[in-house]
Amino acid sequence: MSSDGCSSPSGPRAAVGDRVVPGPGRAPAGTRQPLVRFDSVWKTYRTGAEPVHALRGVSVSVMPGEYISIIGPSGSGKSTFMHILGCLDTPTSGRYSLAGTDVSSMGEVELAEVRNRRIGFVFQQFHLLARLSAWRNVELPLIYAGVPRHERRVRAMAALEQVGLANRVEHRPNQLSGGQQQRVAVARALVTEPDLLLADEPTGNLDSRSSADVLAMLDELHRSGRTIVLITHEPDVAQAAERVKRFRDGRFIDDGGEGR
């Protein structure tokens, strides 16, 4: 993992092949391109008389295969950061590249495609559709990707097996425990083979046993090579990641302490 902190590159193209400063306790990333790169990203809301700066020049990079957690109190702007990272929102200024592509200036339709192809979301409230069975929930992103019907089922089943729910595929969300629901959500996030797994307070609605369960699963996914960004306000949960970054007042306040 590397972070540019306050320094900002001279121009957009500088991102490619830019020297990456290795963080402490981390093997040099070599010449690999970062998966995520934020260059002084600002997000300003102008709802009232006073503009509110939710993000104040965030610059950060995430290398492929990294597992980092972002911890910050509520109101720190970490949700806004997560929304932009997840291509659910666009920056007011600055540049965000995902897998080498500038996504900060994309339109709604392009962003939808990026979310579909590159990002898997895991939410605090699971966000499963109550009317659909587990596997039908998991196949949803594949529908939007235009994957044929038969292949969707096969891949949804495989994803559910991966999260240990092979025997619960026909269950509806209300027939599953909270931990199981979150595992369905993880399966849904994995089914498209995304570049980036984005977990927003994934343990926020779970008891400690289910939380440990979900965190263990994320750990396993990381070991199998997934890039994971975990957003939380709980220090215990944040420690599950390889690296921890603290977020406060719209920017990162340190260059990352040790995780684990």
């Binding site: 659910l88 929102d89 939808a112 009317r131 939007y144």
Partner: protein, 406 residues
């Protein structure tokens, strides 16, 4: 996302809210059924009236006695009995009225018929042999009276099928019945005209020679009407003019404004009847259209509720990669499925009612295929039109706003 997926998702959403969807569909359904029934009722009534008018005969002109002028007092329609059998004979003259094919004067009166111990009151018509042709009737059994029987004031009678039945005559030809107190020989029975119960019964009558009727029953030389058949539909106008000129001359009237008779044609009757009918149909269809509109607003209302209620679902679908167009399409499909379901249900209900209702009321209800298909299409269009606004609201929702809402 394929159309198939969109449809399935739409059905899922509709089946997920059965009561609400059912009530929405009901609004459309009632509207469509009402449209089909009112159009059917209107067309049925028109067909009924047209067949009643056509059963009078084809290319028919009817001369009725008109207003009389006695000094300065002018009477209205039918106040004078100015038409005579002699007039009718004159109108049959091919030289003066070349476009008139046949003439049948008609004396109309009531009479009490007695056969043995059975008696029956009915209309008694006095006419000439042309009556059969002009009124478009034919014989079931026996024969109609001849010109010579008219000339000799023969006491012969032709009965309507209902009349023969009511008198209990199973083998009527040759039997003697009394009309008034005068004995008549039954020489035939008319074939049933088959007109419906709502118009004058064309099967309950007794027809006698016009001369006999004038002599024995009415005692005057006048006739009630003169029925004329034009040579063809296109010569009806010319025939009308010829008849008018001839009658004005016969009656010695120089100013056509004072004419003492009125000529009506079948066409004018049909026109009057159908204009009344179409006005009524328009009124009913208007009410039905309003109920459809209300149904459409119901669809919009429900779709707006649905969008509000499913904000999180929309947000999630967008986060998973649904584009605004896909979301819009999903809600449009839902709305049009609601509309289409209501349309098909309404068409089914309307058709069933069109078949069942005539058993309980005297009105005919025509089943109009274009109206049925049209209203199903309209129902779907209503679904789409009233679904556009809710669907574009759903499509415009920002995913983060949608996901944030609890």
């Amino acid at each position: 996302m394929s159309w198939w997926e969109t449809m399935r998702s739409g059905f899922d959403a509709i089946l997920g809210h059965r009561l609400r969807s059912g009530l929405t569909v009901l609004g459309i359904l009632i509207g469509i059924a009402a449209v089909i029934l009112t159009v059917g009722l209107g067309e049925g009534a028109t067909a009924q009236v047209n067949s009643a008018i056509n059963s009078l005969g084809t290319n028919l002109l009817i001369v009725s006695p008109g207003s009389s002028s006695t000094g300065l007092v002018r009477g209205g329609f039918g106040t004078a009995s100015t038409l005579t059998y002699a007039n009718a004979l004159a109108l049959g003259n091919k030289r003066d009225c070349p476009d008139v094919a046949a003439v049948a004067p008609q004396v109309q009166t009531g009479g009490n018929l007695v056969a043995g111990t059975t008696n029956w009151s009915t209309q008694v018509i006095g006419s000439t042999p042309n009556w059969l042709q002009v009124r478009g009737r034919s014989m079931a059994i026996g024969s109609f009276f001849t010109a010579s029987q008219v000339k000799t004031d023969a006491n012969v009678v032709v009965l309507g099928s209902t009349t023969a039945q009511e008198l209990g005559l199973f083998n009527p030809v040759g039997q003697t019945i009394e009309v008034g107190t005068v004995p008549f020989t039954v020489i035939g029975v008319l074939k049933s005209a088959g007109t419906s119960s709502s118009s004058t019964n064309q099967d309950d009558m007794a027809v006698v020679p016009v001369t006999t009727a004038q002599e024995l029953l009415t005692g005057t030389p006048t006739v009630s009407n003169i029925y004329l058949e034009a040579t063809s539909a296109s010569t009806m106008g010319a025939a009308g003019t010829e008849v008018t000129d001839e009658l004005l001359a016969l009656h010695g009237i120089t100013d056509p404004a004072n004419q003492d008779f009125t000529i009506t044609s079948q066409t004018s009757l049909v026109q009057t009847a159908s204009s009344v009918n179409s006005a009524l149909t328009f009124l009913l269809a208007g009410i039905a259209a309003i109920s459809l509109l209300v149904g459409g607003i119901g669809v919009m209302n429900i779709m707006l509720v649905s969008v509000t209620e499913r904000v999180r679902e929309i947000g999630l679908r967008k986060a998973l990669g649904a584009t605004p167009a896909m979301v819009r399409r999903q809600f449009l499909v839902e709305a049009s499925v609601l509309g289409l379901t209501g349309g098909i249900g309404g068409a089914a209900l309307g058709l069933v009612a069109a078949v069942v209702v005539p058993h309980f009321v005297s009105n005919q209800i025509a089943i109009s295929v274009p109206a049925t298909l049209g209203s199903v299409a309209v129902a779907m269009v209503i679904g789409v039109v009233f679904g556009v606004y809710p669907a574009s609201r759903a499509a415009r929702l920002a995913p983060i706003e949608a996901l944030r809402s609890e």
